[in-house]
């Protein structure tokens, strides 16, 4: 009996090795980019995997902007990527007219279904790129494909993107007709290169197969893909990390002005890592994420500013 168990164990080991070999196309060892927060990096097994799919979801519909903010914070943190490329959906002319008419009449407009479709692609930092130019604040080439669905909370606002370390001039927005084209644009971006990361929305059309394809493309290109996921989308995916984000009352400087965006972050899944919950600040001067001591701890923010 014991012998059987042993043989079974050995056979399982062999199979596991084979699966591990087949599951990964990459010849490189996985490259990770630490967030610089030891607590989080420990849960992530050292940091975010560069050539992989990362999904960020809001805890509820109204937290979608926070989720997008955190996504951009992850993608834009300076320690990792120097260039990004985004594309995003501009409003349909008819939709704008409809909203304008409704707002003139003072009507309440029902929020459209929460969907933001976009892809952000940016080139990875390369060796020798750490020159003066690369260190300047706005050095990110971004590609942002989107479908023509009007997102619930509006469109990314170019001047606002600067606070997440993105240079609007280096963002290429790709207007796609449907989710399929969006996926195509993401994959082509990964395949052809010239970009540091892909940012997009996880759409209903993206089943496990599509997400595996994207994950493999990201792996081969060694380029991260950040996807914004609907708060109510629980479909399985091939992403290596999954985050869930809500708002938290933001930090203030010593004069009482808004300083940093603050997020309540839950790491729901990390491949080979652990889950965890934190409250984080996005420091838009230093372009990095920081752990804030406690929710609503205004004093902590003041101390840092001082």
């Amino acid at each position: 009996m014991a012998e059987f168990a042993f043989a079974r164990q050995a056979r399982l080991e062999t199979l596991r090795r084979q699966i591990a070999g087949a599951a990964s196309f990459s010849v490189r060892p996985e490259e990770t980019a630490p967030l610089g927060i030891s607590e989080v990096d420990a849960c992530l097994n050292g940091g975010l995997v560069r050539g992989a799919l990362h999904e960020i979801a809001a805890a509820d519909h109204r937290s979608t902007p926070a989720a997008l903010g955190f996504l951009l914070a992850l993608a834009g943190a300076k320690s990792r990527s120097e260039k990004r490329l985004l594309s995003y959906p501009p409003p349909l002319a008819g939709e704008v007219a409809r909203r304008a008419a409704a707002s003139r009449k003072g009507e309440r407009i029902n929020p459209p279904s929460a969907s933001l479709h976009f892809v952000c692609l940016a080139p990875p930092p390369q060796a020798g790129e750490d020159n003066l130019r690369a260190r300047s604040r706005f050095q990110a080439n971004i590609l942002w494909p989107f479908t023509k669905t009007a997102p619930a909370f509006g469109l990314p606002y170019a001047p606002g993107l600067r606070f997440f370390g993105f240079d609007p001039a280096r963002i290429v927005f790709v207007r796609c007709i449907n989710a399929r084209e969006c996926l195509w644009a993401m994959e082509e971006g990964l395949r052809l290169g010239g970009i540091a990361a892909v940012i997009g929305a996880r759409v209903k059309a993206m089943d496990l197969t599509a997400s595996r394809r994207l994950q493999l493309a990201a792996e081969q290109a060694n380029t991260p893909v950040f996807l914004l996921r609907n708060y109510n989308d629980f479909a399985s995916s091939a992403a290596v990390t999954r985050w869930r984000i809500t708002h938290a009352p933001s930090a203030r400087d010593k004069f009482g002005f808004y300083k940093n965006a603050r997020f309540r972050v839950a790491l729901e899944y990390a491949r080979g890592g652990k889950t965890g919950e934190w409250i984080m600040d996005w420091d838009h001067d230093a372009l990095c994420l920081r752990l804030s001591s406690a929710l609503g701890d205004r004093a902590a923010g003041e101390n840092r500013a001082a």
Partner: protein, 483 residues
Amino acid sequence: MPFALVMMTTGGWHLAAVSPHAAALGLNAGELMADARARVPSLQTRPAQPEKDRAALTKLARWCTRFSPYVAPWPEADERAGSSGLTLDITACDHLFGGEASMLHAVIANLSRLGFTARGAIAGSIGAAHALAKHSGQAETIVPDDKLADAISPLPVSALRIPDKTAVTLKHLGLKTIAHLLPLPRAPLAQRFGKLLNDRLDQALGRAGESFTPLLPHAPYRARAVLAEPISAQEHILKLTNKLAADLAPALERDGKGARALHLTLFRVDGETAELSIRLARPSRDANHIVKLFALKLDALAEDFDAGFGFEAAQLDVTEADRMQPQQAAIAADPQRDLDEKLSLLIDHLGSRLGLENVLRAHPHNTHIPERAFVMKPAAQPSAWDEGDAPMRPLLMLPCAEPAEVTAMVPEGPPRRFRWRGVQYEVASAEGPERIRPEWWRERESRVRDYYTVEDEDGRRFWLYRDGAYGEGARWFVHGVYA
């Protein structure tokens, strides 16, 4: 077996076209089918499909671009009795085939190889060539310029591309051939038959100019290659394209131009053509860049791309060219440049499928009105945002400011609570106002806006503004959402 194509017209089924056998039995196009059947009981008929004929003719015209770049099918109005044809402008093309005679021979021979019975004529005017090809009855006719009048004289007046009615009237008057018309005074002719007859006569004699619209648009730069052996492998096609693109480069460089749009025509052995078009975001004459785009295009076609028995000729046209500054290659390796090149290839590639107008970049717009702070332009144009300190702006902007019901502590003060999209938000703190005045030179009606950044008890931040001052019917709007 006698055979005819029939067509339903007013008065029943008529013969549209007849086979040589049927013609020998005395049948003519235009007869009633019932009459024809009565005379030749063994007549076989099929319905004519004029639109398919037209499509086939267009296809044939494309095939004929191997002889001259300027080819057009005859206008539909000139097509009568099932015969149709093509006009080729062979100016400066004939010497490539060893002179006019051998070129005409080559054209006819190639057409007969494809299974067409063709008659051809070379003349100094479109009118004369058309008339001779259609009515001379000879397979090959070449007329020197000084013999034009003599050559067309014996042809019937209907050869002049005039309406049937005019031709019939002329015949009734005893004016049966062009020779009868030539000595007549022109003014009474015009009075009786309209200007068209005189114009056609002049055009046939080469006294009046005539132009035609070629099937393929004029391409300012064109390279072509005819191959000894047909090719079909993708890598060979790309190699050939690379050679053609490289051939185009010196001419483009001489004119200080770069290609913005290119069209590749591949001629199949069996007379079909395969066509590929690419557009470039920025003018380029770099053969490698161009070939990469064609390669991506071919990859996308994959199964749909039918090489048949191979391609025997290829032609690369620059359909759109734009001014381009000479570029000096960097001698030192520059990773930034490499990335930029990759990015421009990506932009071209995405643009070739989605349309270059759908690959966009935000350009700053010099205004302080928030919704006009940037404009989206095609990504090929580089934009620059200055790095100076900008005022705090939200991450997301609503396509249109949405009205909100706001309660404020003091009339001119920040909101205390507000209701937006049916949800009540208690404001924990507010920052502002940031006053933004309308651009009076642009719009007179709009009012001063006071923007506030407010945060609710859960930490959601909004960008609200009050449109107008209190006392003049101020209204509140939510304009943006912070992360």
